[in-house]
């Protein structure tokens, strides 16, 4: 299949998902709500202030996670790298948990994002630092470091829950499962700002990522400032993961899966792989979230559960597929 055709197919998939998913759900929404945007019927209100913001948030969160996955996999030359597997989501979750339990009453603008950004950045630097100690890091070492960091932060979250009261503890648990439960447009608009900023930053690193995905050596000798690029990517991924975790909880595996599926479709050139993954990751999470809220409606499954159910087997498949290369 030609790469451009594949890209067009992804765009069609996105358009399809984005038009269908807002209509899916227990309450039937007539198509007439699209014509009369000012109407004040129950259906219109469900559509415009619940479904649409929710689908948009899911799309933006998925897009951000996929974008992080693309950048991390190329930078670390590790097919298993993703915000979740490297413990970045865990770090962000810890940051956000601190905010929920200690600082929620403080008047800080976008406090939850600020706290989870700090957590995400701490986690990514910790994983990177751990792999640097052991020279010539293999995919396996990095994954182990990610697992260690994940454990470390989840223990800290458990500790926080233990010392906090019951309601706070329940809030943290519910939110750790990952769910996109939004009303109105405050969350989607914030997500839009953070996601588009991160995606634009990463997109401009495309050619550098191509070279870095071969080897750091290659990138340096072709004139890439590898250390500087790493810093940019650490910053951009931390900010995107922070936004996703703060608003939707640590949703796993989207960042792992979307880049791999897109690589099969459009190839390894990040100039096309990055936008393809962003679009596909967004539509994929929007679809998962729709399944999550319709499967046992009126009850809801946390979307993190759905992505983990799909992602677990995918992860094992990747592990088997690249087992000979990962050095474990």
């Amino acid at each position: 299949m030609k790469k451009n055709t594949a890209f067009i197919l992804i765009v069609i998939f996105v358009l399809l998902v984005m038009t269908v998913t807002p209509f899916a759900g227990l309450t039937k929404i007539p198509f007439s709500v699209l014509k009369n945007t000012a109407s004040d019927t129950t259906e219109a209100r469900i559509f415009y202030s619940l479904r649409l913001p929710r689908v948009c948030t899911a799309f933006l969160a998925g897009a951000a996670l996929a974008c992080c996955g693309v950048a991390l996999q190329a930078m670390f030359r590790n097919p298993l790298a993703a915000p979740f597997t490297l413990g970045i989501s865990g770090g962000a979750a810890f940051g956000a948990a601190i905010y929920v339990i200690f600082a929620a009453s403080m008047p800080i603008y976008c406090g939850e994002i600020l706290f989870s950004f700090a957590g995400a950045l701490a986690a990514i630097l910790l994983v990177y630092g751990l792999t640097k100690i052991k020279k010539g890091f293999s995919a396996g070492t990095m994954l182990l470091a990610g697992i260690a960091v994940n454990f470390f932060f989840s223990s800290l979250i458990l500790l926080l829950q233990y010392i906090s009261d019951f309601t706070q503890s329940f809030m943290v648990i519910r939110w750790l499962m990952g769910s996109i439960d939004v009303t109105g447009y405050r969350v989607p608009i914030s997500m839009l700002i953070f996601t588009s900023a991160g995606v634009i930053i990463i997109y401009f690193q495309s050619l550098k990522l191509n070279l870095m995905s071969i080897s750091d050596e290659m990138a340096i000798t072709r004139g890439v400032d590898v250390k500087g690029t790493r810093k940019i990517i650490f910053f951009a991924t931390s900010i995107m993961v922070a936004a996703v975790v703060a608003f939707c909880g640590p949703i796993g595996f989207v960042g792992l899966m979307a880049p791999h599926i897109c690589r099969l479709l459009v190839g390894h050139d990040h100039k096309i792989l990055t936008p393809a993954s962003v679009l596909f990751g967004g539509a994929f999470l929007a679809l998962c979230d729709t399944v999550a809220r319709t499967l046992i409606a009126p009850a809801e499954i946390p979307v993190g559960v759905i992505t983990a159910l799909l992602g677990g087997p995918f992860f094992i498949w990747l592990l088997l597929k690249d087992g000979d290369k990962s050095g474990t």
């Binding site: 550098k208 290659m218 340096i220 000798t221 072709r222 004139g223 400032d225 390894h268």
Partner: protein
């Protein structure tokens, strides 16, 4: 000889407690074919990695075109220097054309737009290296020899004045060895490209170089012409073994021949 393009003063490099390079000083002139030989573990590759700024925590000073290596911007340096490692990674997922085009990176504008001129330069580089015929194949499906040719094509497309090459032909068959060395000689002549080449194949160094240095345990133990290194005492000092020489049938240049094997009856000294 023309002006000095690389000057190295008191270069030292330590890994943990092992001194890999020690007080190494030499200079390379523009347009030279400069070969670095020496036994395994002498620090040849490390030296090249310092010169290409892959290693930065060395002691001493490396100057390229009268400017400290560390003071160059990354893109500026990549326009002057290119480095071909000892074999490209085997799992590169890009096509030959994509890979060669990537070498245009230092010449691109900040927005990284590849224009038709870049494509033309990449095409020419592939023509020169006879890699154009498999331009659309994925690198990981090529043989070692073909990959090495592609590596050189990319170096040419980068349009650098200095090529730093680590064993560019050592592990290839005779035909590919000859092709690669012919190609390097041609680039050296037509573009006045400076070739700095690390090898442990003495014969290829002697037949291709105009200047040779020998490293042993991180120190320079010889610097001179190919004629000068082909000397029994000099080589014994470098390699701690004796060598047999013959004259090349076409040029008369002294070259070395492999030793006979102890206790292998078919090969007895006549």
């Amino acid at each position: 000889m023309s002006e000095k393009i690389i000057e190295i003063e008191n270069l030292g490099f330590v890994i943990q407690t092992k001194q890999i390079l020690e007080k190494t000083s030499f200079s390379v002139s523009s347009g030279q074919r400069f070969f670095i030989v020496g036994p395994n573990g002498a620090g040849k590759t490390t030296l090249l990695r310092c010169m290409s700024r892959i290693i930065t925590d060395y002691q001493g000073i490396i100057k390229v075109k009268n400017k400290n290596l560390k003071n160059y911007s990354h893109k500026k340096l990549a326009k002057i220097l290119t480095y071909l490692p000892q074999g490209l990674p085997a799992d590169i997922p890009f096509t030959v054309r994509q890979f060669v085009l990537m070498a245009r990176y230092p010449h691109l504008s900040p927005f990284s737009i590849i224009n038709p001129q870049d494509e033309e330069i990449a095409d020419q580089a592939m023509e020169m290296t006879q890699t154009a015929c498999f331009a659309d194949r994925i690198l990981s499906t090529l043989s070692g020899g073909e990959r090495q040719q592609v590596g050189i094509a990319a170096a040419i497309a980068q349009q650098a004045e200095i090529f730093l090459l680590d064993e560019p032909a050592t592990y290839l068959d005779y035909k590919h060895q000859r092709d690669i060395h012919n190609l390097l000689a041609k680039i050296n002549k037509t573009n006045n490209t400076t070739i700095v080449c690390v090898t442990h194949d003495l014969n290829s160094a002697v037949l291709n170089a105009d200047t040779i240095i020998a490293l042993k345990e991180g120190k320079i133990v010889f610097e001179g012409t190919p004629e000068e290194i082909m000397n029994e005492d000099t080589l014994e000092k470098i390699y701690s073994k004796k060598f047999n020489f013959v004259a090349h049938p076409q040029t008369g240049q002294k070259i070395i021949v492999p030793d006979i094997i102890d206790g292998f009856d078919r090969l007895t000294i006549k």
